[in-house]
């Protein structure tokens, strides 16, 4: 069982949380312009990384807030926990994310900024959390 450190409540057992899949998936900025292929990508295609993977979790039986987590999918080691809307804290974010993900991805508003690939301090990222759940985030 994972021991997950909720940014609001501290360390709790995995059973208190709900997994929300890949983080930083942007809602299409111009949905009307998407073709079937692009809709398929948005609806059904997610990264399935073997290694460090950025994903969303909901502290469903605690503060009921969403946050992001960087976790190794082989060792299950939790490498970072950071607020929704903040960029992925390791510099080595997969290149493909910069094409589609915007900083606004997690709040479903439109935006144009690509996520920063600069290393963010993990400690700093646990403060000012924008913790609103993205629409449709309940999987």
């Amino acid at each position: 069982m994972l021991l997950i450190s909720c940014p609001n409540c501290g360390s709790r057992d995995e059973t208190e949380f709900h997994y929300g899949g890949q983080a930083h998936v942007a809602y299409p900025e111009n949905p009307n312009e998407l073709n079937d292929r692009e809709w398929a990508e948005f609806l059904f295609y997610r990264d399935n990384t073997k290694g460090a993977f950025a994903e969303r979790w909901l502290h469903s039986t605690g503060c009921r807030q969403w946050f992001n987590m960087l976790r190794d999918t082989v060792s299950y080691e939790i490498q970072a926990i950071y607020p929704m809307g903040a960029p992925r804290p390791d510099a080595a974010a997969p290149a493909r994310e910069s094409g589609t993900a915007s900083l606004a991805a997690d709040s479903t508003t439109t935006g144009t900024a690509a996520p920063s690939t600069a290393t963010t301090s993990i400690a700093a990222s646990t403060s000012s959390a924008s913790t609103t759940a993205p629409e449709g985030a309940t999987k």
Binding site: L2, A40, R46, N48, T49, K50, R71, V74
Partner: protein, 406 residues
């Protein structure tokens, strides 16, 4: 004793050749699906200059880790067709492969615990019958007659309100299934190469022409991916994406018991499934861990949940000891149906996404995938399971509809 039925442990069943520099086709992944594919490529399509490349040992992936439940009581026409075809093959394969892998048609019950379950189950029985799949609805008394150790009292949280029953369903010895296919593949000239990990692909434009491995580059005209939990890792190497998520799925066994459990019982609602192995262990499984994982191990709370369900349904299990637990990596899709067919890369084909329930599909997956690899076109039975369905929207939504996922 059930154990008396077990065949002798087999002697060497296949050669361990060095990889050749080129093959007409290479199958990546030496699980049940890779073996069945190679077998039908050789048998039905005369392609014998082929190799199965397995990064570990033969059938040591999900093939060795599953709970071996075989059934075809799926809801939708497309699924019923492919799984029923598989079941018909299971019925003739021991003779065809000249190897008894103890396919035991002891029947499978899918329990209903709520009114919603009851309606959904009856609907599925009707759909099964229309598709020529044997199916019955059982009331709680009939459930008890078939499996006397089941608790059908209505004072538990989720009482048994009935069950669907497929008499032709059952279990098989998975290791023996793999050995049976491997032995025939070898006889037909297929090279089975273990400890050979595919690490990349060679392409000429958009056409695959070879595979890179830890034992050198192998040229080939065609590549078939049968890598279950790792298909998306391989697809990424080849330059395309798959709508697949890999999750840990666990199973466990008890110590040996006298025969007490004559059939297979599955419950989607309280989520446990139980059968008794030929030797006497109670074999149990439940759901996947919610998160993605490649670690071949899962969370303890999933086991805890499944044991609670098992003990409520089968009170006599309260004193049984867990002997062993383990995990596999299953490849799930959003419509809970497999992906079998062509890929965006020419001459590369994929068979994946069987998720938590692909053991039962092994013979039909092999047969139809072999057809696709040999001819470059879909087989009638795997056509609906093409990758394109995520674009066209023609999903085959078996989630929940097919009874428990396995």
């Amino acid at each position: 004793m059930m154990g008396d039925q077990l065949p002798e442990h087999p002697d060497f069943l296949w050669r361990n050749p060095e990889p050749k520099s080129s093959y007409d086709a290479v199958i990546v992944g030496g699980g049940g699906h890779g073996l069945a594919t190679a077998y039908f490529l050789a048998k039905n399509h005369g392609m014998t200059n082929i190799a199965i490349l397995e990064k570990g040992w033969l059938a040591g992936g999900n093939m060795a880790r599953n709970t071996t439940i075989i059934r075809s009581n799926y809801l939708w026409d497309e699924s019923a067709a492919i799984y029923e075809h598989a079941l018909k093959l299971w019925e003739v394969l021991p003779e065809e492969l000249e190897y008894d892998f103890l396919f035991s048609q002891r029947g499978v019950m899918n329990l209903a615990h709520t009114l919603g379950d009851v309606r959904e189950s009856m609907r599925r029985v009707g759909a099964n019958k229309l598709n020529g799949v044997d199916a019955e609805w059982l009331d709680p008394q009939q459930v008890k007659e078939l499996c006397p150790i089941l608790n059908i009292n209505d004072n538990i949280r989720y009482p048994v309100m009935g069950a669907t029953y497929q008499p032709r369903a059952g279990i098989a010895k998975h290791d023996h299934v793999a050995w049976a296919f491997a032995r025939k593949c070898d006889e037909l000239g297929v090279d089975i190469i273990q400890n050979c990990e595919v690490t990349g692909f060679v392409k000429d434009g958009n056409r695959v022409t070879g595979v890179k491995t830890n034992r050198g580059t192998i040229n080939t005209e065609k590549v078939g991916l049968c890598a279950a939990g790792h298909s998306s890792v391989l697809a990424e190497m080849a330059g395309f994406r798959l709508p697949i998520q890999s999750h840990p799925l666990q199973a466990l066994v008890s110590e040996l018991h006298e025969p007490v459990h004559p059939t297979v019982v599955m419950s989607n609602h309280v989520h446990v499934y139980v059968s008794q192995a030929h030797k006497g262990e109670l074999v149990m499984g439940a759901g996947v861990d919610s998160y993605n994982g490649y670690g071949q191990r899962g969370s303890f709370h999933v086991i805890e949940h499944q044991m609670a369900a098992a003990v409520e349904l089968f009170p006599i299990f309260a004193r049984a000891h867990v002997l062993r637990t383990w995990g596999g990596i299953v490849d799930t899709t959003l419509d809970a149906s497999p992906i079998v067919g062509t890929t965006p890369v020419d001459n590369m084909f994929v068979n994946c996404g069987w998720g938590t329930g692909g053991f039962k599909g092994t013979p039909a997956a092999g047969l139809t995938f072999a057809h696709t690899i040999a001819t470059g076109t879909p087989h009638e039975l795997n056509k609906p399971f093409a990758l394109e369905r995520f674009e066209t929207g023609a999903l085959i939504d078996e989630h929940g509809a097919a009874a428990v996922a396995h």
